[in-house]
Symmetry: C2
Subunit: 254 residues, 2 copies
């Protein structure tokens, strides 16, 4: 790696940004690479799952990485994340939200890479539809060892329960996605992104419990969600269940 040429140092508060920017020649000095990484989350069998791709080259060869890619000069950040989902998982029209930008100088041993991480939410059916490369990718189960929004690293396990070693700082990014999703569940309608268009209140509760990692009170969950006014009864009920069928609801778009 060559010695980076630096922008001129500011000597103190008397030099303002505009002068600084003006003196800047885009070709003048070394810049970081900018990438996006996508944490694709879906609930399944009582746990959150995510898509990981196996690295076949150094560094972190053999480890598992979040889908990601370089940001092009003519696309926005979220646009880049949507493209990554399309190219690497065959998914379109997915809920996407920026998470956090990681930019420690040593997070990638090859060169300086600043990565803008994103969270993508789908229901389990769409995750199953994702076109992923055989052997080189896995839908991993996420084990969260902390409660509430404490945050921290999480473990990713393959379908046989083996812990998957993660590349770079992707364990932190995964943990952050879970933390953020837990935080958003209470006051924003993200829970609906994790379910198909129509669902019962109990299914919605199960998804909330999966995300939060704890049991919820059925009565108050029901009251609280109906009180939000975000739900709309479809008028239909479950079919072919061996008990009283529950009413189906959809997310009210208005």
């Amino acid at each position: 790696m060559t010695t980076p040429k630096r922008p001129p140092l500011n000597s103190g508060p008397e030099i303002d940004e505009s002068a600084f920017l003006q003196s800047y020649d885009p070709g003048d000095f070394e810049r970081p690479s900018v990438t996006v990484d996508v944490v694709l989350l879906a609930p399944s069998e009582g746990a959150l799952h995510t898509l990981l791709l196996k690295r076949t080259e150094h560094p972190s060869r053999g480890r598992w990485a979040l889908p990601g890619g370089f940001v092009r000069m003519d696309e926005g950040l979220e646009e880049a994340a949507a493209r990554v989902l399309r190219e690497k998982a065959g998914l379109r029209g997915v809920f996407l939200e920026q998470l956090f930008t990681f930019g420690e100088p040593d997070r990638d041993p090859r060169t300086r890479i600043v990565t803008v991480s994103h969270m993508a939410l789908v229901d389990r059916e769409r995750l199953a539809e994702a076109e992923v490369a055989e052997g080189a990718s896995v839908v991993a189960r996420i084990d969260v060892p902390w409660l509430g929004e404490a945050g921290g690293e999480v473990e990713a396990k393959d379908p046989k329960g083996r812990v998957l070693p993660l590349a770079f700082d992707h364990g932190s990014i995964l943990g952050l996605a879970v933390k953020r999703l837990r935080g958003k569940l209470d006051y924003s309608p993200v829970g609906f992104e994790l379910l198909p268009g129509e669902f019962t209140l109990f299914e919605l509760q199960k998804v909330h419990e999966t995300v939060l990692g704890r049991k919820l009170n059925k009565d108050s969950f029901r009251r609280r969600l109906l009180a939000t006014g975000l739900l709309e009864a479809t008028g239909e009920s479950q079919q072919d269940v061996d008990h009283r069928p529950a009413a189906l609801y959809r997310f009210k778009r208005s």
Copy 2:
């Protein structure tokens, strides 16, 4: 601007990130510039205030911009934000938190700039201490035209109440900082960052009201904050007030 050389296109999901990254030569194609912008917030006279610097060159000449600067190859993002605060405002040891990364291709007309915005919190005394350039900078009062966490643009006004035109998308960044601060106030101890080391419960309430833009119930604010266990009585009281002096508290670090 030259036509950007692009990284090779991924043809589909079967090409994973590791192969993509491996084929990447850091000198191979054009990359965005990466900067940090800092929204420095402090409460004063019932409103939030922030530091803005006047741009003396095109683009956005004459408009007001957040303090910012390029990220160096050997420093982290938050580190860069701390440096900007030090160089442009003479402030050290300030609470800093990443906000959001803006990267629309056309947000700066000169070249592609991805900016990682940060929020910095100080009390009004420290904001007054900030060493800013005469004429080229201003501590602007922020007027928030929306309630709660609705979000949106905000207006910045100079001490005489004149609206300050903002550079680039800095109005959005400012609005996002206010929204984020409102959201954090309830469940995290950020309120203390906006006050000197010792304060009365009523002063803390006033700061909360300033941030939230609405009046709070005195009784329940008192109960709620004392119940958090984050406060510690200093044993001292206010001096030289023409009414019963209030007990002083400090933020309990533990």
